[in-house]
């Protein structure tokens, strides 16, 4: 058989493919499919669109054709007969990229529902591996991979910024838990080291405060590491096992150095899966001197041991639980969150299907970092929106930042109007605290922050009015702009200390305003707090052509979170 003339990239990719299928499981997944089509109804991409090119088997076949062409007995002679094909041009690589990054979240719902157990996620990851090895991947994913490799965490947060934020959060927590509360950093010999998702530091510190509260109330002997603190690992989503091993070593080496007994992973689906199940294999670590467990498991133990007491009346609304794919289908964590939620809430409602049959949040597989596929992601999210709506619950709980973001996006898109919370937040809220009788609540705005200038940029008059009054009441000097042009003029004239920005505005859009501000040396240092439900924010967050926004919040606005974020941005000098 004549082999086609290949582009340089295609030639390299084919070479990588042959190495990438060097495990028995990979060969079986590629060789054994009979094209029965049973997996079609397991995939939300297909269920939502009815597009025959969205069935798991069709997508896996875009990769399987390479196996048929290069390794199958008959395929090597007559590839077309068995559906074989190869990569010849750069366009072939782009087409493959679109399939494996843009139309599969590697959720493994089809794997669980296949009579054979063909692991399509493994196939898709294999293809991602051969593409990312040659720089062919969504820009956001490549940015995150670069930051994990070079800085050691997915958001590219420097050690100084991380430690400063933790210190600031410590003060925040003291307002709630008492002045004796401390976040121990690098405490040698502690029982637990707590590793987190960097988005918690940058965008959702409420989940960190919740975890701090639980450790404090349980009397845990815990610490946070100054390095190797990122539990997320884009080695999983990119297929890059070397990156996976690099991130794992950062965490494992620090845990070894501190001599801890346990590494506790914050609410993060893929973070837990990689830390617990994939990383030890990637690093070829035979026996780790510590256990790895999810914060969910830790909290269950604390409840069993009576170290935290839960009062369900503090969460009076009905709550349903979304099983993150990486926790349920790839890590066996399904009952722990239910144990906690049934004790922390007055009413727990299942959504159907659930556990290993649950539908993906649509933001998995690194999907949140791939802004170019956001519209497709949301177009296929109808089924998830319907599933949540059918539960009739007032709150959706989950245990993964990607799920929180994915669900929040689809809830906004399909107008489900249900807030999404992390399980740890719900449990922390339900905790009975000894300090409750003398609870001081949120820390007040310090005197030195009063009089700081905040520019509110939003095209919705109601939002501008609300924010202006609310922030003025806190002692800030507030000005406002209704469009991009007005915003840029106001920034140049008033030099605000902070800008709240809606990124979806007419004329000069918020994204353009943000980019202009960041590219101007005079304004690039001003912290920008995005207040918007638009998914365009993810592009700013992950593509990193310029420094990402310092804060983010969807609508409707939660005053406590708003105030806390504004305080953080003004108090911490990044």
């Amino acid at each position: 058989m004549m082999h086609p003339i290949r582009s340089e990239k295609a030639q390299k990719a084919v070479g990588t493919f042959e190495k990438a299928i060097a495990t028995r499981e990979a060969v079986l997944a590629l060789a054994a499919c009979v094209h029965c089509g049973l997996c079609a109804d397991s995939c939300h991409y297909y269920l939502a669109t009815g597009n025959p090119k969205m069935t798991p088997v069709f997508k896996a076949d875009r990769v399987r054709r390479l196996y048929k062409y290069h390794a199958d007995w008959l395929g090597r002679l007559v590839p077309e007969w068995v559906g074989g094909g190869t990569l010849s041009s750069d366009q072939d690589l782009e087409d493959l990229k679109d399939v494996v990054f843009g139309s599969c979240t590697m959720c493994r719902r089809c794997t669980i529902n296949c009579r054979f157990g063909i692991d399509n996620a493994l196939i898709i990851r294999t293809a991602r591996r051969l593409l990312t090895a040659h720089g062919i991947a969504p820009e956001g994913l490549l940015s995150v991979m670069r930051d994990q490799r070079e800085v050691g965490n997915q958001m590219g947060i420097s050690k100084a910024d991380y430690l400063e934020t933790i210190e600031w959060l410590e003060k925040e927590a003291q307002a709630d838990l008492g002045l004796d509360f401390r976040v121990p950093i690098d405490k040698e010999g502690a029982e637990i080291v707590y590793v987190i998702n960097p988005r918690e530091v940058q965008y959702t510190p409420m989940t960190l405060l919740a975890a701090f509260k639980i450790f404090h109330l349980a009397g845990a002997d815990w610490t946070m590491p100054s390095v190797g603190w990122d539990n997320s690992n884009f080695g999983l989503f990119s297929g890059d096992n070397d990156l996976g091993a690099h991130m794992a070593r950062l965490a494992f080496d620090q845990a070894r150095k501190l001599g801890v007994k346990k590494v506790v992973v914050s609410d993060c689906g893929h973070g837990y899966r990689t830390m617990k199940w994939e990383s030890p294999n990637w690093t070829k670590a035979r026996a780790l001197p510590f256990e790895i467990e999810s914060l969910l498991e830790t909290m269950v133990d604390y409840v069993h041991q009576g170290r935290i007491l839960l009062d369900p009346s503090k969460n009076p609304h009905s709550v349903t639980y979304h099983d993150p794919c990486n926790l349920s289908r790839s890590a066996g964590i399904t009952e722990e969150p239910r144990f906690l939620l049934t004790r922390a809430c007055l009413e727990f409602r299942e959504m159907y299907p659930n556990r290993v049959d649950n539908y993906c949040c649509t933001g998995g597989g690194g999907g949140m970092a791939m802004a170019e596929y956001a519209s497709r992601r949301l177009a296929v999210a109808q089924i998830k929106a319907d599933q949540i709506r059918a539960s009739g619950a007032a709150v959706v709980a989950t245990a993964c930042p990607d799920c929180v973001d994915g669900l929040t996006d689809l809830i906004n898109r399909y107008k489900v109007h249900i807030p999404v919370k992390n399980v740890v937040e719900i449990v922390a809220k339900a905790c009975v605290t000894p300090a409750e009788k003398t609870k001081r609540g949120m820390r007040p705005i310090p005197a030195e922050l009063k009089g700081r200038r905040i520019l509110v940029v939003d095209d919705e008059p109601d939002v501008v009015r609300y924010l202006s009054i609310f922030l003025a009441d806190q002692g800030f000097l507030v000005s406002s702009a209704r469009d991009g042009r007005g915003a840029l003029a106001a920034v140049r004239q008033e030099r605000p200390d902070l800008i709240t920005l809606n990124i979806t505005m007419p004329e000069n859009s918020g994204v353009e305003v943000f980019m202009t501000l960041r590219r101007d040396p005079q304004t690039q240092g001003i912290p920008v707090f995005i207040i918007s439900s638009a998914v365009d924010f993810r592009k700013l967050m992950y593509y990193r052509e310029v420094r990402p926004p310092e804060g983010y919040m969807g609508k409707p606005i939660e005053p406590n979170v708003l105030l806390m974020t504004i305080r953080r941005l003004l108090e911490i000098k990044h």
Binding site: R24, A29, C33, H35, F58, D61, A287, Y352
Partner: protein
């Protein structure tokens, strides 16, 4: 009652030389070829190293493996089968009928007298008719449903069509009333034996391995066996659970 009328009993001692060669030599030669090909295939597979699991287990690998094998017999465990029982019935019947057809190919030359009993003939003819019918339904599905057409290769059509024809040939062969019928049956059987290792029909050889590794993987992580069966109800798209 026999489903199909016999033209008269076939005398095995008076088969023509081509048929004799095919039934007693070529067919078994093809079988030996198939076995050899699969041995090579499995050896090639086993040359690839399995994923080495270095993490302490959260669940029970043995239970996981057992569960992975058993899901074939407990169809309600898979949502895909809970929602569409007919596909499971179709799948089960087709594979059982193929096993009967194959079994008949081996037993006919040595036990043709026992297989002449009218009730045996009738039962097998109905069985093969059902199998062939399912084959036609599956072919029709593959040709008419967009999502099936999109994933079907010539090999998929060829395998299904050949197996369907083979089951039709089985209807004639079991009646043992025509040498031509027997010849066609064994020609198809030989063709299938030789072609099988190169085709998607090879899935049967991979099945024990893939379920083993799947069960081991999910059992190790505590995913298998399922902890709680989903409650009966409707999925968001209105389908039965």
């Amino acid at each position: 009652m026999q489903a199909f009328a016999n033209q008269g009993p076939l005398e095995w001692s008076r088969l023509g030389p081509v048929t004799t060669l095919l039934v007693y030599k070529v067919f078994y030669g093809a079988l030996a070829f198939m076995v050899l090909a699969y041995l090579i295939k499995i050896r090639q597979l086993l040359k690839q190293p399995p994923v080495v699991e270095s993490t302490p287990p959260r669940g029970d690998e043995v239970r996981g493996i057992r569960y992975a094998y058993l899901t074939l017999a407990i169809p309600w465990e898979l949502e895909s089968q809970r929602q569409d029982w007919s596909s499971y019935v179709e799948f089960a019947c087709l594979h059982i009928v193929i096993a009967f057809n194959l079994g008949m190919a081996f037993t006919l030359p040595i036990a043709h007298e026992a297989l002449r009993k009218p009730w045996v003939v009738s039962a097998l003819q109905w069985t093969f008719t059902a199998g062939a019918g399912i084959g036609i339904i599956r072919l029709a599905n593959r040709l008419t449903r967009r999502e099936m057409r999109a994933i079907s290769s010539p090999d998929d059509y060829f395998c299904l069509a050949t197996l369907t024809l083979w089951m039709f040939a089985g209807i004639s062969a079991i009646s043992q009333d025509s040498e031509v019928g027997l010849l066609v049956f064994y020609l198809l059987a030989t063709l299938i034996m030789i072609y099988m290792p190169f085709s998607k029909i090879s899935h049967f050889a991979y099945w024990p391995f893939i379920r083993y590794y799947m069960g081991k993987h999910f059992g190790h992580r505590g995913v298998y066996p399922r902890k709680v069966l989903p409650k009966a109800g409707r999925s968001p798209n209105g389908e039965r659970q």
